[in-house]
């Protein structure tokens, strides 16, 4: 979807339409797996609300095989497209140093040669048992970010195949019991466009008292910060920037 929309915004509607055509079977698949195209409503405290339907392997595998084949064909077709290259190569350059300084995350960071990926850096869920590559490009322009997203698409297909092969049997929900008030939890997961941080503070009555989501765009949408790091301009942003720096430091990166 990202690839399709990006192409739409740069006026390349051919690929926009093709990307959305290829994406559609995956939407049908999520409807088959979760009961809805977008609002899965699956995650609950303790697990997920429903198990995979009967015969899911035989339905998912042909779909991802087809997606892989079609994406390969599209990528093969567009890589030598001059108009696309002129539009993407050398434009919107974010240098490696700037990317580190303003703490961008996800494919934006990886397009500038910063190899961060929450799935690999501190594996959650089953990512520790799966073998995948953190896709990094060095040039930092729009082309690099596009390449990162394209390569990640193939990595995702690889991840799905491995997950299907290693899928364990067993219950889908764990017994949670009473959740005490005043408990805190922080998590960091890799969303398609970068890291998302969630913070929760539990209250009485088994309900959350406070819940804060720090979306990935907050670290990506800060032009101007890159030049000179003028902290007086926006002290609030500076604080966020510091907090993320601390997260990175805690991970043993600079």
């Amino acid at each position: 979807m990202w690839l399709g929309l990006a192409c739409h915004f740069i006026g390349f509607d051919t690929l926009f339409m093709q990307a959305w055509r290829i994406r559609e079977p995956s939407m049908w698949m999520t409807e088959f797996l979760t009961g809805n195209r977008k609002t899965y409503g699956m995650n609950q405290i303790g697990g997920v609300s429903r198990d995979l339907p009967e015969g899911y392997q035989s339905r998912i595998l042909p779909v991802i095989d087809r997606i892989e084949k079609e994406v390969t064909a599209v990528v093969d077709a567009i890589l030598e497209d001059n108009s696309l290259k002129l539009r993407l190569q050398g434009s919107g350059v974010l240098s490696h140093a700037d990317a580190k300084a303003i703490c961008v995350v996800g494919p934006t960071a990886r397009g500038s040669g910063v190899a961060i990926d929450a799935r690999a850096d501190h594996p959650y869920a089953a990512y520790g048992e799966l073998d995948f590559e953190v896709c990094v490009e060095q040039s930092g322009d729009n082309w690099a970010r596009t390449m990162v997203r394209i390569r990640e698409l193939f990595e995702s297909i690889k991840i799905v195949r491995q997950a299907l092969a290693k899928m364990p049997e067993g219950p889908v929900m764990a017994e949670v019991g009473v959740i005490e008030a005043g408990g805190e939890g922080v998590s960091s997961v890799e969303a398609p466009r970068g890291e998302v941080h969630h913070y929760a503070l539990t209250g009485t009555d088994q309900r959350p008292y406070r819940w804060r989501v720090r979306a990935l765009s907050q670290s990506a949408e800060r032009p101007g910060d890159a030049e000179g790091h003028d902290d007086r301009r926006c002290p609030h942003q500076h604080r966020q920037h510091r907090s993320l720096l601390l997260v990175h430091r805690a991970r043993g990166r600079d």
Binding site: T14, L15, M17, Q18, R21, E24, W28, E31, F32, G35, N36, T39, G41, Q44, S49, R50, P53, A73, V74, D76, A77, I78, L79, E80, D81, N82
Partner: protein, 179 residues
């Protein structure tokens, strides 16, 4: 230049090979996958008004109100996220997710379910005990589970506090008081 021409040719072939991919919907019916969660439906004959759904609903769209001898459950489905938690917790299986996904409407009342059930108040203090249907369910199930004759269940229309008072007074329940 040659590479660019090849690339454009490949793009053209891709588009032509794809052909028509749009579906006939809405001129043809489109049935969702089994297990699809569409618009919520309530079976008014099964609902006992216990409010388990209101407790489970993450969107807080089910309100329970006791007034004038009736308990009213109000579902404002315009806010529904289709998670089906209410259906999963309903002890009566009164709630179901239909296959209906065409919910666009100009009238908010189309996305609303209201059910009104008769309320039972404590015969001694007047506090709310529950709905008549909740009591009926207890009356149907408890005697066989406990091995009690139904006529012995005369404490059913007492609230929790009055039940305790009576149990203590009649010596059914003894409380050990430690010094």
């Amino acid at each position: 230049m040659f590479k660019h021409a090849v690339s454009e040719l490949k793009e053209a072939i891709l588009c032509l090979r794809a052909g028509q991919v749009t579906l006939g919907y809405p001129f043809e019916p489109h049935s969702p996958e089994p297990g699809f969660r569409g618009l919520l439906i309530l079976d008014p004959d099964k609902c006992i008004g216990c409010g388990a759904c209101a407790n489970a609903c993450p969107a807080r769209l089910i309100s329970v109100e006791d007034q004038d001898g009736h308990r009213t459950l109000d579902f404002v489905l315009a806010r529904c996220t289709y998670c089906a938690r209410c259906r999963d917790v309903c002890p009566q299986q009164a709630l179901a997710m239909s296959e209906q996904f065409e919910t666009a409407t100009s009238s908010p009342e189309d996305l609303r379910i209201t059910i009104k059930l008769r309320l039972v108040r404590c015969r001694e203090c007047g506090a709310v005990v529950g709905t008549q249907r909740q009591l009926n369910r207890v009356l149907n199930e408890l005697p066989s589970q406990l091995g009690l004759p139904p006529e012995k269940m005369d404490w059913l229309d007492l609230c929790l506090s009055c039940k305790r008072t009576r149990a203590l007074r009649e010596g059914v329940l003894t409380v050990e008081v430690r010094a």
